[in-house]
């Protein structure tokens, strides 16, 4: 899985500069990352990368870092 791809999807969904994306970004630090934003993010990632996350994985994502790990796991399945 290409991290640049994930970074650009994340930046597009939350309207961020992709250079400013760090592993520490979380719903507490990104204004648009509320519950609806979370669902939009997951759907955008699943559609773009053609993967499917489990519900446990969806709810475990609490930062960009965990998102990266979860997506990497799902891409390897």
């Amino acid at each position: 899985m290409d991290d640049q791809n994930l970074r650009s999807i994340f930046a597009e969904v939350f309207n961020l500069d992709s250079q400013a994306i760090r592993d520490e970004l979380s719903p507490d630090t990104v204004d648009a990352w509320d519950s609806f934003g979370h669902m939009r993010l997951i759907t955008a990632i699943e559609r773009s990368l053609n993967i499917r996350l489990t519900m446990d994985e969806v709810v475990s994502v609490d930062s960009y870092g965990t998102l990266r790990r979860v997506v990497a796991d799902a891409s390897g399945r």
Binding site: F36, M39, I42, T43, E46, T54
Partner: protein
């Protein structure tokens, strides 16, 4: 029953009588503060709930509720000629508007209110959760287990097991 008698019956029937009849016929809890037309076009399953200040109008077409449908306060539901169907265990949040009829507006020389009406019908599946302030327009077809987020507008087909948001409502998540 003629249309005039039906209208008279609607005006003259005290709302607590409608509540009692709803309980006896369908096991429904219909608030006496709601306005529900209990006529042959309204078909209810068991155990439905109609909260206060709702208006349920089934004069022009069939309105069919499944079992345990819950309509929260201040909703307006009206069935056009092609009907309105709501599946079992569906919840409709407060301040929703679900109307299965429409006006045509292709003449500029006639007020819209005097132009002919149309109806495609509305179908809402089972286990749907419709958030507060949602508008479901004529022609909507909402699949089972859908969640419609508050203040959305639904006018087309919504696939089952999804969460939709916005105007027009679009899929933002697939439930799993």
């Amino acid at each position: 029953m003629s249309k005039r008698n039906s209208k008279l019956g609607r005006v003259l029937t005290p709302s607590f009588v409608v509540s009692i009849l709803g309980w006896l016929r369908y096991g429904a809890k219909i608030s006496p503060r709601s306005e529900v037309e209990l006529n042959r076009n309204l078909i209810m399953g068991r155990g439905c709930v109609i909260s206060s200040y709702c208006k349920i109008k089934a004069g022009d077409g069939v309105m069919r509720f499944g079992d345990h449908v819950e309509i929260a306060t201040h909703c307006f539901l009206a069935a056009g000629t092609k009907g309105l169907e709501i599946g079992d265990y569906t919840m409709v949040g407060p301040l929703c508007c679900i109307v299965s009829s429409n006006y045509t507006y292709d003449r500029l020389d006639i007020p819209i209110s005097l132009q002919p009406g149309t109806s495609k019908g509305i179908r809402i599946g089972k286990g749907v959760w419709i958030g507060a302030g949602v508008m479901v327009a004529d022609g909507a077809d909402i699949g089972d287990n859908v969640i419609v987020t508050p203040n959305s507008v639904v006018s087309g087909r919504v696939p089952a097991n999804t969460i939709v948001q916005g105007n027009p409502a679009k899929v933002i998540f697939e439930r799993r």
